[in-house]
């Protein structure tokens, strides 16, 4: 067991962990932060994305001991003072989620993307989210959500055109 001290969603925590424990399992099992989920075992899906010391990482690909002394933000720490983060709002507004399983990772990666590039093009958004798999949305409304959060999406949220009289 190794003693680790870190800050998770603003709270200081300390635990003895096995060196083999993955950060995502530490968050879920030791801290009960079950908002962060596991979707694969090869680091392809990105569902477990959190921020470690200010940048997005796949928490299945980090050992808890590697996060010692670090600062972790999960989907559960994104809203501040009961106010949703603009990216969270945008995902709801633009229907950027269906089953919601990829959503925590997708939102955390989108926040990271917008931090680096506040006004991304559609292509930049699509490339910036390439490490996050979604099986429900076809990505269309996720891209809209990120555009919306960036203020570049306008009001046409979901790409739904008008009903037709044929």
């Amino acid at each position: 067991m190794v003693r680790i001290n870190l800050t998770v969603d603003g709270a200081r925590v300390a635990d003895d962990v096995e060196p083999r424990m993955l950060l995502v399992h530490y968050l879920r099992e030791k801290l009960g932060k079950t908002g962060t989920v596991v979707g694969c075992d090869t680091s392809n899906c990105g569902a477990c994305t959190v921020h470690l010391d200010g940048t997005s990482v796949k928490s299945c690909n980090v050992l808890a001991v590697q996060a010692d002394g670090g600062e972790v933000t999960t989907i559960e720490g994104l809203a501040q003072d009961g106010q949703l983060h603009p990216v969270q709002e945008a995902f709801r507004e633009c229907h950027g989620l269906q089953c919601g399983y990829c959503t925590p990772g997708m939102i955390m990666q989108s926040v990271d993307l917008l931090k680096d590039n506040p006004n991304p093009s559609e292509e930049e958004i699509r490339l910036g989210l390439e490490g996050n798999l979604c099986r429900c949305t076809g990505y269309h409304n996720i891209v809209r959500a990120v555009q919306h959060a960036a203020g570049a999406g306008g009001t046409q949220a979901a790409g739904q055109t008008e009903a037709v009289q044929a």
């Binding site: 569902a47 269906q98 699509r126 409304n141």
Partner: protein, 834 residues
């Protein structure tokens, strides 16, 4: 009359139906406040790890669990022998013929394994990590048996997947329009076309094996510590699971509570009763402790059921002008190692759809289901209908090429005209409504069809290395599973009704209970909209409850695009009963005759007066029960069970433009337009999401996904490194629109939408790819259309090899580069620094 109608919101914007309501579900999902099965922790909970067979077919000669049992914090290690009959058995609910060969499917194999990934032993430990550690220590010895792997070869019975059955051929199911009296004899039509100088197209298409690949790996938690055994599972079908567990384990149904909490996608992949669920139940009972099993992604890919996997032999007869005179379909369908819950029923669901939107005079369908030593197959989004749609829409493009007309023109010659509805098809279904002309006209306009055709010509003429292809798919499907009577005729083991309850609470809030169990679709929102309108209560006041057999005791769950069109209709009927009961109370309270009352906007009013009472006030009055009509039961709550009389038939026109880099075979999607007619829309936002997601799954079949086995029966594409799901960077934004002809088979006028995108898009994409290179002499490229396959098709065409015509298609070409792979992870076993 099939003129399309405007959506309801255009007429009455205050109505909930038709509004782009943001989803009620989202607040918890975007904040991580979720209840996935794997999130559940119970006091004293134990964890399972599975020991799985690495061999596709082998006899188990011995299992030594001694060392594993001594591993730290291991509670038990059990084999199939240890569990014996306490483990129950997995069922096939749809024997498609009376003589179907159905191998016994035990959750834990006892003496023989029939696919790589089958469970042979189970470790129970205090933590998941310790369970995994011990699983590595279980020593299993196998005697490898020859494995039946290739579908066509398996159909010849040279190697038997289950030697005791004597054959791999499980069931042979036929529909013939001549015999059914729904059309002519197809062989006569083919002979006539041959003799009279007509057209006879013979093609063979491959539906590759796919994996549903829902994002949430499956997980099951079982708590045996209460009076009832509580089972949480990441499933689409809590009610069917409860029934099947009771039927096969001896646990009384009344002692079982099944809960599907938040479920992270299914796409048919969680329409299953699984060995892992049965094992978790057995070990919870054996240990008396709460037990959890959560699979890894790799386990999910090798052991959760796969989809599609067919060979399709097709013969289409037509006259010189391209009027189709007959269609003959002969399928081989790979069941994998066992006949799963729906099993051979999947291709049968496609049997009624090969004739699609067309007026074919003669039709014959036959499917041979075949057992192999691969992962079992079952429903995957569309289930039978994508296979049918792919075959016919590919064929219609081939027919257009043969006749020398535009692919849309050949379709128009054959499709059902809008004034011909209702129309009874050659497969015996009655299509209630539709307007193929309207959807097609709109799609062409949005697509810029003529301009893109002009660009295609320019690129061809200039010999541009990047060629452009345009693909068409004018699809329909049958959805809303299903009239129970029809299911009975098809020998399915259950009905197709759905149940709903509407409860008026004392405070005027409304609880709605549905038997349709959601896993991402947005039922809570769409169902709230329906009930809010029906009862005239605020959207926010409606709470939708589902997915727990103790809360929603009756239901048949979610699949086959049925939730809205069957489950929604049950809600309408239950709501209407509530209003009827409330009306009696209203009349009593208002001292008026019920005949003089109007109900609108949640308020009963006495016609011609300003007197009225709100339904919420009535709910409170009924709760108090101080002043009710004589003899009235003090409750407004109502149930309804709706059994549809017919399927419904969404349709649409999809147009796809693909660029093909002829130097590398690389493909780039340029544009995708779809105009679907799904009847009246409850929530356009949710519909758009269903369409987008469906499109990408269908496009992924066309371009990327394939479950590939090697010669020894190991799944090569057994992780997300090799099973290629597309990312945001591989896909484009879609142009989606709708035309509307309301369905006549339910009062809301809705049609299913969950599977439409997937069903339609696959042939649109492949047609576009083939269209881009057809001038080079290419008539088919096998799915997934990988760059290598495209490049090889171009090479072969350019080298003067025979163009791929008839059954001599590239399907028979073994040189598809599918052998061997480099394991990206294996190499790191050496001393290299990471």
């Amino acid at each position: 009359m099939t003129a399309t109608e405007a959506r309801p919101e255009a007429e009455a914007p205050e109505r909930e139906i038709g509004r782009e309501r943001r989803r009620k579900e989202d607040q918890r999902l975007i904040t991580g406040r979720t209840r996935w099965t794997d999130n559940i922790q119970l006091p004293g909970m134990l964890h399972l790890a599975m020991v799985r067979s690495p061999f596709a077919h082998a006899r188990i000669t011995s299992i030594d669990t001694t060392e594993a049992k001594q591993s730290p914090n291991v509670v038990d290690v059990v084999t199939g022998q240890d569990l014996a009959e306490t483990q129950g058995v997995l069922i096939n609910a749809w024997p498609i013929t009376p003589d179907q060969k159905t191998p016994t499917h035990l959750p834990v194999a006892i003496d023989r394994v029939a696919f790589a990934g089958e469970i042979v032993a189970v470790v129970v430990a205090r933590s998941a990590a310790e369970a995994r550690d011990a699983a590595e220590l279980v020593d299993v010895e196998y005697d490898e048996l020859p494995a039946a792997l290739d579908l066509k070869e398996a159909a010849t019975d040279t190697v038997l997947a289950h030697p005791d059955l004597g054959s791999n051929k499980s069931a042979y199911w036929v529909f013939d329009s001549g015999e059914a009296g729904t059309g002519g004899n197809v062989d006569d039509a083919i002979t006539q076309a041959r003799d009279s100088g007509g057209i006879v197209l013979e093609r063979e298409y491959r539906q590759q094996r796919l994996i549903p690949a829902f994002m949430e790996p499956r997980s099951t938690v079982v708590d045996p510590t209460g009076e009832q055994l509580t089972v949480w599972s990441a499933t689409q079908i809590p009610h069917i699971l409860r029934f099947a567990l009771a039927a096969t384990t001896g646990i009384p149904e009344s002692k079982l509570r099944v809960i599907a909490p938040d479920v992270g996608g299914g796409f048919g992949g969680k329409l299953q009763t699984t060995p892992e669920e049965w094992i978790t139940v057995a070990l919870a009972r054996r240990t008396g402790k709460p037990v959890k099993y959560t699979e890894t992604r790799s386990e999910s890919l090798i052991a959760a059921h796969h989809g599609r996997d067919q060979w399709q032999k097709l013969t289409l007869a037509a006259d010189r002008e391209g009027n189709v005179t007959g269609l003959k379909v002969q399928l081989l369908a790979d069941l994998g190692a066992y006949v799963s819950l729906v099993g051979g029923g999947v291709p049968v669901l496609g049997a009624f759809m090969f004739n699609a939107i067309y007026k074919f005079p003669a039709y014959h369908f036959a499917v041979q289901t075949v057992l192999t030593n691969k992962t079992w197959t079952d429903a995957y989004r569309g289930a039978g209908r994508p296979e049918a749609t792919f075959a016919i829409e590919r064929l219609m493009d081939e027919l257009a090429a043969e006749v020398g007309v535009d692919p849309l023109e050949i379709r128009e010659r054959n499709w059902i005209k809008h004034e011909e509805f209702p129309f009874t098809t050659v497969a015996g279904l009655e299509y209630d409504s539709g307007n193929y002309e309207a959807a097609t006209a709109r799609a062409k306009e949005m697509f810029g069809y003529d301009e893109l055709r002009a660009e295609q010509r320019r690129r061809r003429e200039s010999g541009d290395p990047v060629q452009l292809g345009i693909g068409v798919s004018t699809f329909t499907e049958m959805c809303g599973l299903a009239p129970s009577r029809v299911l009975g005729q098809l020998d399915y083991g259950a009905g197709g009704w759905e149940h709903a309850s509407v409860r008026m609470l004392a405070t005027g809030k409304v609880e709605v209970v549905t038997g349709a169990s959601a896993h991402g679709q947005g039922h809570e929102t769409a169902f709230s909209q329906i009930v809010a309108d029906r009862l005239g209560v605020p959207f926010e006041d409606v709470e939708v409850l589902h997915g727990d057999t103790q809360v929603a005791p009756k239901g048949l769950d979610t699949y086959g695009s049925r939730s809205l069109v069957v489950g929604g209709e049950a809600l309408v009927k239950a709501s209407d009963k509530v209003v009827e009961k409330a009306k009696t109370v209203a009349a009593h309270l208002l001292e008026a005759s019920a005949d003089d009352l109007d109900f609108s906007g949640g308020r009963f009013t006495v016609r011609g007066t300003d007197q009225g009472v709100a339904i919420q006030e009535i709910a409170t009055a009924v709760f108090a029960a101080h002043n009710l009509p004589d003899g009235m039961e003090p409750s407004l709550d109502s149930d309804a069970t709706f059994d549809p009389v017919n399927f419904n038939y969404p349709h649409g026109t999809h147009l796809c433009a693909m660029e093909v880099d002829t130097e590398t075979g690389a493909l780039r999607m340029r544009k995708y337009v779809c105009v679907d007619d799904i009847g009246n829309v409850i929530n356009p936002l949710i519909v758009s999401g269903q369409v987008h997601g469906g499109l990408v799954q269908g496009i992924a079949q066309a371009l990327w996904e394939e479950a590939v086995y090697d010669d020894s029966g190991t799944l090569v594409s057994g992780s997300f490194v090799d099973y290629l799901l597309p990312t945001s960077a591989d896909t484009i934004s879609f142009e989606v629109d709708h035309t509307t002809t309301p369905s006549l088979t339910n009062t809301l006028g809705t049609k299913g939408v969950g599977e439409a995108g997937t069903i339609a898009s696959t042939p649109a994409v492949v047609n576009a790819v083939v269209d881009a290179v057809r001038h080079l002499g290419i008539t088919d490229i096998r799915m997934p259309c990988t760059p290598e396959r495209v490049w090889r098709a171009i090479q072969d065409a350019g080298s003067g090899t025979e163009p791929t015509t008839g059954a001599a298609a590239p399907h028979f070409d073994a040189s598809t580069g599918m052998e061997g792979t480099v394991d990206r992870t294996a190499g790191a076993q050496d001393g290299a620094q990471q």
